[in-house]
Symmetry: C2
Subunit: 214 residues, 2 copies
């Protein structure tokens, strides 16, 4: 049955869920929030109920226009095509390539290494492992942003790249990365977190954030 | 100085380089091949000379239209916008989302875990590590492809998703993944490797493939 309701399956501190929450808020698309707790009941993403939504057993999943979408990059590109205003990609081809490259530095170059399933496999020393991959990626990102950033990652307009940067900073803080090494990333982050869409999407403002979470 | 020449910095068995080579061949864009050996001289990607091309010290880098592009996803999207015919993305929004999601399962969900720098860090047991992440990702990919594939990953037309699948299979073979578990991936792969663009882009057909490579 086709429905107009938009439903997001999300976990408050999943960075992939977080990116999509920013996109939805930025484009002012209303949605129903359905929490998937990655720790409770051995991981609710692995439940039979959730696997009927997303057989991959991952968050986020977005139900929209009668379809179920997965993978944050794919969902954000879909939302950009569906609701082009306000845009998350520049008008020119080269600008779009730069924004997508900045997004990928985080998406495929940093975030996979701090994934829960990976850290479980690393076991002892996992905090140091996560920190080292974030720092390595941040050195590249800092260099890139020095060329592209204004107030935000790409000039003075919010783009897709910013949706990746903010949740990544949550992990950088968690693993105690010394941000004095990365003044450009820090400045862009500070400019972003005060914006309404970024506040609305923040982990601490989600219904499934536990009361004792620090 | 603006030049019309397209230059690809590539390593024959880098899967990110390989994806871009398929896109260039598929769209019949001629280019000059510049080999960057990831092992020689402590890794030529780290040389001062190469860092002037790509400060991130990664392959591929594509010089095109007077710009230097990095990150395979970003480069492929640029080429798709620049040379839309023949297309690598379906015409409909949902189809594009599916193709991009399939690409991401490999791009951010599998390939990062078999990266050289990661395997170095894993050290002992790295072959088992790589194999386990490929298998885990392949279970998801197989499920997804059962819904979307025809002759190729998405129906009977070559798409961006296929550009990610073929180089990934090179790694799957290298780490001795038992492909009997994944009949759909295997069938799609077999359909793809006979196509001219995929042959031209194959690791074994690159100028920097060493004569003794197996």
């Amino acid at each position: 049955m086709m429905t107009n309701k938009v439903i997001l399956y999300s976990f408050f501190r999943s960075s992939a869920s977080w990116r999509v929450r920013i996109a939805l808020a930025f484009k002012e698309i209303k949605y129903e929030y359905r929490a998937v707790n990655l720790f409770q009941d051995g991981g609710q993403q692995n439940s039979e109920e959730y696997k009927r939504v997303n057989p991959m057993g991952q968050v986020p999943a977005l139900i929209i226009d009668g379809h179920t979408l997965t993978q944050s990059v794919s969902i954000i590109e879909y939302l950009e095509e569906r609701n082009p205003d306000p845009p998350l990609l520049p008008k020119d081809k080269y600008g779009r390539a730069q924004v997508r490259a900045l997004s990928e530095i985080i998406n495929s170059g940093i975030q996979p290494y701090q994934n829960l399933s990976v850290l479980d496999k690393v076991g002892k020393g996992k905090d140091e492992w996560a920190k080292s991959f974030i720092e390595k990626g941040y050195h590249g990102l800092e260099t890139f942003l020095k060329q592209t950033s204004g107030k935000y990652s790409y000039g003075n307009t919010v783009t897709m790249a910013d949706l990746f940067l903010v949740p990544q900073m949550f992990a950088a803080k968690r693993y105690k990365v010394n941000m004095e090494q990365f003044p450009t990333i820090s400045q862009v982050y500070d400019s972003l977190i005060v914006l309404p869409a970024f506040k609305a999407a923040d982990a601490v403002n989600q219904p499934d954030m536990p009361p004792n979470f620090q």
